[in-house]
Amino acid sequence: MRAKQEPHPESILVDEEEILTPEQLAAQWAAEAPEAAGPVANLVSSLVVLGLGLAGVLLSLQLGLGTPAEPKPGMWPFIVSLIVAVLSGVQAVIGRTGGTDGEKFSNNSWYAAIGFATLVGMVLLMPVIGFEIPSILLCFIWMRWLGGERWRSAAVYSVVIVAAFYGIFIAALGTTIPRLF
């Protein structure tokens, strides 16, 4: 039985201001989007990649280039590194005025930095004390401080989630993930 196609009574009262044309919506998204990275970020990222390209060029030369008919191990990495270096050099020049790509780091970027630090911490702690405690800590930090959960719910959910992972990876799948218990 197909439900009769009638709009909800309340929904007939659509807020006209909320209906935006695709162009307006795209403009609204653009306005809400984070600020573009800007010229300094463009230059820094280009220079980092340029450094990688140049290092690749030097290391490839040490491996030897050979000839097109008889290339040595360094030939292909040399070509690729050269492309990296040239493109990033061009980008450093073109991107000096900024552009709209990329995003500026904001105060919220600390959330990503803390997230990364906790992941590194977990990788370092796992082989030493197993995955359980680092995982509980990671869940708790992410929920309480990065997610704004309450203390109690963050603690309870963290333990439940790690117990579930223990059940799946250790008990059911029998993997050799380093563990405490």
């Binding site: 709009p7 695709p22 984070p34 990649v49 097109p68 990876f169």
Partner: protein, 509 residues
């Protein structure tokens, strides 16, 4: 008979209970993940790659394919209910889908999207069934020079067609090629860029790169991003579209199917471009284009059909040429290699069960998608209400523990985290991770093809141009590479001419 027998045998493979179960699982997971804004199909497949290690190759690819096209539909749900595209291919669905939801017709929009996805996907599978053997037969004549040209063109197209800065996309692709050189040289055995580290001697594995860039990179980015905005999903009622809506959408569904199929085959094409193109076509064809953006059902039907058709047809270059058309296909390519299956023109003849099993699983998967999509809308709305604060650490733990199970190596887990940081930074600095992963996957094919070609051609690079197929592909390569520059020059000249004529008019006045 020679053609139909393996096709029919493929149905036997899909109807195996295990494969059916994995197909169902893949579609369901894809839809669920597609619903969660932030994680797209590439990230989902990357994160779930470890699940495929202990199953048969055909089963693994059936599941991954299910995740891919399931996520195409899942992304629609947030576009309609939250005005947030679940992924890039659902961006245009927001325009009319959300307005329809505000008019109390969210169910209609979702229902039409499900029906369109089913029809578009099914038409694309029929196309795939008949076209794939033709392409594979043609590609049997390919030698190393042709593969060199094809891989180069594929990387260039993906880099230049993807959104954002073209030069940054090319830099990302070049870095991908560079990362692929790390490890032992396959021709001489010499170690390159390993710095004596034994773990790097065999090169960097594809999985930590994909899991890091797409999985952890997205997770870190979302940690920052979700503090910006949050909204509650709209209510869903009237899930079934009316006969009038179906009639109005039928043309858009037909056109979307054809458009999506052809755009999906092109390297760098795929679901996103197809949905955008379909929206543009529907708006142009409409008697009253001003309806678009105000709840036009064709604005949902066309793009949603096109993105599913494209998702399906993008398997053609992967399975027949061994060239992934987009980042998600690059990850599936990696998954096939891990399973010991090399995609390419030989696949249809050498592994017909796998080939036709995967192709035919899409028929079944699309039916499952249609059956599940409408009744499960309520569940998806509930999932949207789960707090991101709880989902984020779950996703991170799945990625970390999954990465460990690849080779029981903490080195791999560390690589995932480091590539996660790289993925995050790339996003912040405007570099697309897609071209990097694609170029990394194609890097070894490109190097070995190039070196073999030069051996055959005795070091004479002009030999690439004198062979008809590689020559044509390289000419296309040059056109694609030069076209943006020509376009810029033409548009600058046009602007200059307009300014000049405006100045002349002002002077006369």
């Amino acid at each position: 008979m020679d053609f139909f027998q393996p096709v029919m045998d493929g149905f036997g493979v899909v109807l195996d209970p295990t494969n059916l179960l994995y197909c169902l699982f893949g579609v369901l997971i894809g839809m669920l993940i597609g619903v969660l804004p932030g994680l797209g199909p590439a990230a989902t497949i990357a994160i779930l790659l470890p699940l495929t290690y202990n199953v048969e190759p055909v089963t693994a690819i059936i599941m991954l394919a299910g995740i891919f096209y399931g996520a195409q539909y899942g992304g629609t749900i947030t576009s309609v209910l939250l005005r947030i595209p679940g992924e890039a291919s659902s961006v245009v669905t927001v325009f009319d889908g959300y307005v329809l939801a505000k008019q109390g017709k969210a169910g209609t929009a979702l229902g039409i999207a499900a029906i369109g996805s089913f029809i578009g996907g099914t038409i694309a599978i029929v196309g795939l069934t008949f076209l794939a053997p033709v392409v594979a037969g043609f590609a049997l004549d390919f030698g190393p020079p042709e593969y060199t040209a094809l891989a180069l063109l594929g990387i260039l197209l993906v880099a230049t067609i993807s959104g954002g800065s073209k030069i940054k996309a090319l830099i990302a692709a070049a870095i991908g090629l560079f990362l692929a050189t790390i490890g032992r040289d396959v021709f001489t055995g010499a170690e390159r860029f390993t710095f004596g580290n034994l773990s790097l001697a065999d090169g960097i594995d594809f999985v930590p790169i994909a899991m890091g860039l797409f999985g952890v990179g997205e997770i870190l980015y979302n940690l920052e991003e979700r503090h910006r905005a949050a909204s509650a999903p709209m209510a869903v009622a009237n899930v079934w579209p009316s006969r009038k809506d179906l009639k109005q959408a039928s043309g858009a569904i037909g056109r979307g199917s054809v458009l999506g199929f052809f755009l999906g085959i092109l390297p760098g094409g795929g679901a996103t471009i197809s949905s955008l193109a379909s929206y543009a076509v529907e708006k142009k064809r409409a008697k009253d284009p001003s309806r678009f953006g105000k709840g036009a059902i064709e604005g949902v039907a066309g793009p949603e059909t096109a993105n599913n058709a494209a998702a399906t047809s993008s398997f053609i270059p992967l399975l027949t040429l061994g060239i992934p058309a987009n980042a998600t296909m690059a990850i599936i390519f990696g998954a096939l290699l891990i399973q010991g299956v090399t995609p390419g023109p030989q696949l249809i003849t050498e592994e017909p069960e796998l080939f036709w099993g995967v192709v035919n699983s899409m028929y079944i998967g699309n039916i499952l998608l249609l059956i599940m999509s409408i009744p499960l809308v309520g569940l998806f709305v509930k999932i949207l209400r789960i707090r991101a604060a709880i989902l984020a650490p779950i996703t991170a733990l799945i990625t970390m523990l999954g990465a460990y199970t690849i080779r029981n190596s903490m080195f791999d887990v560390m690589l995932v985290v480091l590539f996660g940081a790289l993925g995050y930074l790339m996003k912040k600095f405007g570099f697309e991770p897609g071209p990097l992963v694609l170029a990394f996957v194609l890097g070894s094919l490109l190097e070995s093809s190039l070196r073999r070609s030069l051996l055959v051609l005795e070091g004479d690079p002009t030999g690439f141009l004198t062979r008809p197929i590689s020559g044509t592909l390289l000419v296309v390569f040059v056109i694609v590479a030069v076209w943006p520059m020509i376009k810029t020059v033409v548009s600058k000249r046009k602007t200059a001419n307009t300014l000049l004529s405006d100045t002349k008019v002002e002077e006369k006045v």
